[in-house]
Amino acid sequence: MKSNRDASTLTRRDLLQMLGATGAAAVVAACAPPSGSSPSGSASAPAGTPQRGGSVTVALTSNLTTLDPRIAGTNNALRLVTHVYTNTLIRLNEKLEYEPELAESWDRSPDGLTYTLKLRKGVKFHDGSAFTSKDVKFTLESVMDPALKSSFRTSWVINNVPTKIETPDDYTVRIVWPKEPDEPLYTIAFQRIVPKDYTEKVGTDGYTAKPIGTGPFRFVSQTSGDKVTFERNPDFWKSGLPYLDQLMFRIIPDPATRLAAIQANEIQVVAPPGLNPDDLAITAKDPDLTNYNQLFAGYHYMAFNERNPLFKDKRVRQAICSAVDSQEIINAVIVGEVGHNNVSKKFKEFDPNSPKYSLDVNKTKSLLAEAGFPNGIDFTISGLAALQPYTKVAEVVQNQLNRTGVIRAKLQLLDFTSGFVPKVFSAPFDYQVAISAFTSVSALAAFSTYYGVTAQQTTENFMAFTDPALQRAYDDAKAARFSDPKKYQDSMNALQKIIIDDAPAAFLGYWGNSVTTRKAVQGFIGHPIQSFEYMEQLWLKK
């Protein structure tokens, strides 16, 4: 659960990171599309020469509710599995660059309204039928069709529903938007392509019972709630891949059981969110196991609701920022890094010279006194219930704040969907302080949340924070992004400075998680945005 609740192993909480990504961050993408043809392999080469064969079982935390990638929510378990048997047009790789997958190249029209993608030829679905543009059109249109009840529809709606999707020939797709979307590549990258003829024939239920795609593995069987089995696709269009003969996914909600299972070699990979962080010390000492600690392009935050008069004064917010000890937080959650910024170190725009708050209780006291609260302040922190590591972060921060002696913070843990989202992210924003985490697709996207309630709007500013200086710097950065690198970096530095000073939220540290595998499993590639990980390049060292 939540890696906790066993039950606590709460499921789709993993989508927390999507909170930043799709909603807010569906803002500015990092990359310009490459043109020309694509390489046939995928990113990094594994250490040693990959060997063919073998079977790997991956442990998932949460249930697979459907195998139809069009309907699947952003449940990370689901994403991981759908990657195995389907492909997308454009892949967001682990360096946060867009690279070709089923689309060899793409082209943006000068006015930004039309994207033309040239599709890869000679790709076959698992039933032998050829992949052509009609499958892309079918997939995209069905996602946007309300009858399918796909949750991806909303990301299209936000980013503007295309006016039309044209297929001038079998290997060209043209998407025409009424208005240039903020994040066209990201939205396209999320859709995994299903075959038109097969899906229409068997229907959605039929597809979920036996899914088909162009991916490296073919579906073999599933037992509801227990396991799904895939076998190697010998006709996969990336020649030479995949290396494994069989890939199985097993649902093991309890983290202790997952640990026991991987130690007993019943499973070979523990998928994100991985094992209990405390068990990582055990696996680190185990000669048969390897830990991959991943840092995400995301951060833990403590947001202040400025609709509450208490937090309107910048000094109060800064005072609270000075009561936080990022090191202690990371010590408690183990996976992650100390951080004082909302821009991940993984982004090149990160400014190591940006100001930071350090633990300084005297400063807290004096700032509060200056702001008119010599006797301290009282408020309630809304955190996430039974969802690690977010719950731990909230518990530690509450403790830290109360230690100052001038802050009396109560903790209220809420279930994500039924409590946190309605109270913190929706009107009437019934919270005082909220602790959670965000992922960002790019450094600039990390600031979109704080842009404020204006025309730029892609996310509700749940903090009711506005700062014209920040907005100006943001606009400058966006304008200079592809044209003037120096101006761009200067604006990014300015943004990082402004946001620390303004302190709309306290930045508690960078987050991440871990993946554990048996030593024999090679080729694992971690991804800074969960739900983009791939398995096709895994191989077993015999």
């Binding site: 066993d6 202790a256 640990l259 202690e328 690690q388 731990k392 518990e395 509450q398 403790n399």
Partner: protein
């Protein structure tokens, strides 16, 4: 199993004598009293602050500084167990006591007066009893939200119907006893009869149910804490400690071993005491 109707009241010598001469009962009572004292005086006798975090000393095994080690935030486990006793016993006692009181009221009135009230309450009891307890509790907690007050309410809902039915059947048979008939014939009013002649004879069984109920309630609190549906952090409760301990079971088994042991011992004592009391009240065994 048809429950044997206890004919002996608490104060009668055979019952007390049996209780006090049973080694099991005495040990159980002593342990329970010890737990209760810990629960009441936790803030005085606990070695440390249950909320004091010391993250750099997390998950340390038992030592002279921390007799039962530290948890994942570096908090003293022994202290938290002591405070947890308070919460667990409070939850258990409140829910069981109210359930028993409610069962007594409902069962006596239904059994004595019969009629529509009896019928309606009987059907409601039937409905509630046809749910498997854990599922019913889960659904109810999900509906009203996870916190200790709701947990108390849910435990009451779980226990009351069964106990009420038991009280009712006892009252039904007691009503027909000669002395009751006699009392009614001389015009004693119903309330007096219930209070003086009927209820006292139900207390024996109820007290057994109370003991067994404590054991069950402590387990339920732990189970729900384990599922994250009981007391919420950072309050120390055996259930949440069980959950937190199980997360770190391999790295630091002492947390859940200690908590599990506490639950086990408390449960064992209440169960044993309840068993001895049940035998004590059983006229069959006393006749010997």
């Amino acid at each position: 199993m048809i429950a044997t109707i206890p004919l002996f009241r608490w104060t009668q010598r055979p019952v007390l004598r049996r209780l006090l001469t049973s080694r099991t009962a005495v040990i159980s009572i002593l342990v329970i009293v010890a737990f209760a004292l810990v629960a009441i005086f936790a803030s005085v006798i606990a070695p440390q602050d249950p909320l004091l975090m010391n993250v750099s000393q997390r998950l340390e095994p038992p030592s002279s500084a921390h007799l039962l080690g530290t948890d994942q935030f570096g908090r003293d486990v022994l202290t938290r167990l002591m405070y947890g006793t308070r919460l667990s016993f409070l939850v258990a006692f409140t829910s069981v006591a109210f359930a028993a009181a409610g069962a007594l009221a409902v069962g006596t009135i239904a059994g004595y007066y019969g009629g529509v009230g009896d019928f309606v309450s009987g059907r409601i009891i039937d409905v509630l009893l046809s749910f498997p307890p854990i599922l019913l509790a889960l659904v109810l907690i999900a509906a009203v939200g996870p916190n200790i007050f709701n947990l108390v309410a849910v435990i009451i809902v779980l226990r009351l119907p069964g106990e009420a039915r038991l009280v009712r059947s006892m009252v039904l048979s007691l009503r027909q006893r000669t002395y009751v008939e006699a009392a009614r014939s001389i015009g004693a009013d119903d309330r007096r009869i219930m209070l003086k002649h009927i209820i006292p004879h139900t207390l024996g069984t109820l007290s057994v149910l109370l003991m067994l109920g404590m054991a069950s309630a402590i387990y339920l609190e732990a189970a729900f804490g384990f599922l994250g549906l009981g007391a919420q952090p950072p309050d120390p409760s055996w259930g949440t400690m069980m959950r937190e301990g199980l997360d770190v079971l391999r790295a630091a088994p002492h947390v859940s071993l200690a908590t599990g042991a506490a639950i086990f011992i408390a449960s064992l004592c209440f169960n044993s005491l309840g068993d001895v009391m049940r035998d004590a009240f059983d006229p069959m065994t006393i006749r010997r």
